[in-house]
């Protein structure tokens, strides 16, 4: 029986462990991807993902929009990851509980991901290849070699390509 996300949150709050496991199957991979996309190594990413689940456990009954818990988890992971990456972070810390998920996290939903991948394929070069290489986590040096670009230009080119992708997606969403 397929249960929607809000049902799973309510069931987990009521003591249903299988609902929790299903939430984990549904959202764990995207939380991992957000932590890694923020630049965390595997150990820190694992820690941040676990922290987001701990926070959810504590707020299962008070979360504002249970249907949007995927965005809530992604936002929690991103904020925690950015806090962890700060050079001046204290030895002991706690990020604030997310009130409203970042609207941008919606791109992680399945429909959003498929649209994104299609949109990458529609980009001109070097953006298409560059973003495909970014997706498989190829380092800047190898990406530069593959594309025949100077290494120093990879960062700015990536930013420009993401901006193009953003524009393309916004146009497609407006046209829907």
């Amino acid at each position: 029986m397929h249960r929607d996300t809000a049902e799973l949150v309510h069931a987990a709050a009521g003591g249903d462990r299988s609902a929790w496991d299903e939430l984990e199957s549904r959202f764990g991979p995207l939380m991992w991807a957000v932590a890694r996309a923020c630049g965390l190594g595997p150990a820190d990413a694992a820690d941040v993902v676990q922290g987001a689940w701990l926070r959810l456990l504590q707020h299962l009954e008070s979360i504002k929009d249970p249907a949007a818990v995927g965005g809530w988890l992604a936002t929690t992971v991103r904020r925690e990851a950015l806090l962890l990456l700060r050079k001046d972070r204290p030895r002991v810390y706690s990020s604030e509980v997310v009130e409203d998920p970042d609207p941008a996290a919606a791109v992680l939903e399945t429909d959003g991901r498929q649209l994104l991948w299609k949109s990458v394929s529609a980009l001109h070069e070097p953006c298409r290849t560059l973003l495909q290489l970014v997706a498989i986590d190829l380092g800047s040096r190898q990406t530069a070699m593959r594309l025949g670009l100077p290494m120093g230009s990879i960062g700015p080119t990536r930013a420009r390509c993401l901006e193009r992708l953003r524009t393309l997606i916004s146009a497609q969403e407006t046209a829907r």
């Binding site: 996309a37 694992a46 993902v49 504590q58 991103r78 030895r91 941008a104």
Partner: protein, 151 residues
């Protein structure tokens, strides 16, 4: 506005090149075992009083935090030494005879009976996520928010 991290995360997911390790998934599922039914949450607060009275002393590995909920305050000092964590604190006002305090980490929960002045302590915890739960007879438990302690 789409934050780049979400965009990059979506690309990574679509490429399927860096799947979540199974131990991360298992740890997330195990989190459910830490559930404290009916618990109220005490949230961390910025507190000038504890900073000026004793200082956060982050330099010597100690750190003070205050957590507050209606009718109950936790002052918690966490000290990191030799890769392990000691947690000492006080629940105010004194929550009464028979009160137990759990100091929880994802891997280990240490339970202590609270002293007459509301103080408690637990030593030798692994670094990472920590939370304190106060169980008062006849009341719903109160749990502090989870905080992360670096070794």
């Amino acid at each position: 506005m789409i934050n780049d991290e979400y965009f990059l995360a979506a690309l990574r997911l679509a490429a399927g090149n860096d799947p979540m390790p199974s131990h991360v998934s298992a740890a997330a599922r195990d989190v459910y075992g830490l559930r404290v039914p009916q618990a109220r949450t005490a949230d961390p607060v910025e507190c000038a009083a504890i900073r000026t009275s004793s200082g956060t002393r982050d330099d010597d590995g100690s750190h003070l935090m205050r957590f507050v909920t209606t009718g109950l305050t936790f002052d918690v000092e966490m000290t990191v030494g030799d890769g392990l964590i000691d947690v000492a604190g006080q629940v105010l006002p004194y929550p009464g005879e028979g009160t137990l305090v759990d100091v929880k980490t994802p891997h280990l929960t240490l339970t202590t009976r609270i002293a007459h002045n509301g103080q408690f302590a637990a030593t030798g915890l692994p670094p990472g996520w920590v939370s304190v739960v106060c169980h008062r007879p006849g009341h719903a438990p109160v749990q502090t928010g989870w905080v992360r302690i670096r070794p």
